[in-house]
Symmetry: C2
Subunit: 131 residues, 2 copies
Amino acid sequence: MERIPILKMGEFLVVTIQVDMHDQLAKSLQDDLTNHITETQARGVLIDISSLDIVDSFIGRILGNIAKMSQVLDAQTVVVGMQPAVAITLVELGLSLTGIRTALNVEKGMALLRESLKATAGGNADGYARM
Amino acid sequence: MERIPILKMGEFLVVTIQVDMHDQLAKSLQDDLTNHITETQARGVLIDISSLDIVDSFIGRILGNIAKMSQVLDAQTVVVGMQPAVAITLVELGLSLTGIRTALNVEKGMALLRESLKATAGGNADGYARM
C-alpha cells in the first residue's frame, strides 16, 4: 500500500508530501504520524509541501488535523516550502490555514520548532501538554 | 511539472523518493540535485527510498549516477531506508548497488556523512574533490 515516508531527524519528524492526497492516504498519514510521535517521543513535525501546486480545502483540513493531533501529543507542527502561487490562491479562495504555523523552508522551520521548544521548556516545565 | 523536492538540512541535502521514477523525472532529479549541490555548497546527499517496494535496474542506475555526479561535485551520497524485501530482491536478481553507500535510516545516514566529512577534512585538506 502507498504510504508517505516519515523521516526522523533528531527530535523532529519530517514529512514531504509529493503525491496527490486522497482520503485513504491522508488517513494513513495521520495514523502513521501519531504513531511515530508516540514511538519516537518527537517534539515537532515538519511538513514540506514545496512540490504541491494546489492546496485545496481538503488538504488544508488534513494539515489542520495533523497540527491538532500533534499538539495533543505535545508536538508542534510547522508547514514549510509553500509555493508563492499556492499562498496567493489560498488567500483568494478565502482559505486560511488556521492553527497552522508556516516557515519559508525546512531550515527556518527547524529553527522555529527549536525556539518554540525552548519557550515551552521555560514556561511549562511540568511536562503537561498545552491544549 | 512533477518534481521531487530536495530539502536542505544544514550542509546536507535530503531527498525522499515516493513516486515511480520514469525517465523524465529521473533526469530532472539529477539536474535539480547537481544544481542544488553547487548553489548550496552541500557536502552530502541523503536519498530515502523507504517507500519504494521495488528497486529495479533502472532505479539502481539512477542512484549510481547521482552518487557519481555528487562525488565529482565533492559531495557524498548515502541511500537510506531500504526495505528488507528490497534488499532480498536486489541480491536475488544479482543487482549490486556498486558505488552506493547505504545506511539503515536517515539518522544513521547523517552520522555516516558527518564521519566521512571529518575523514575527508583530515586527509584531504587542500579542498580538491577525490575522484
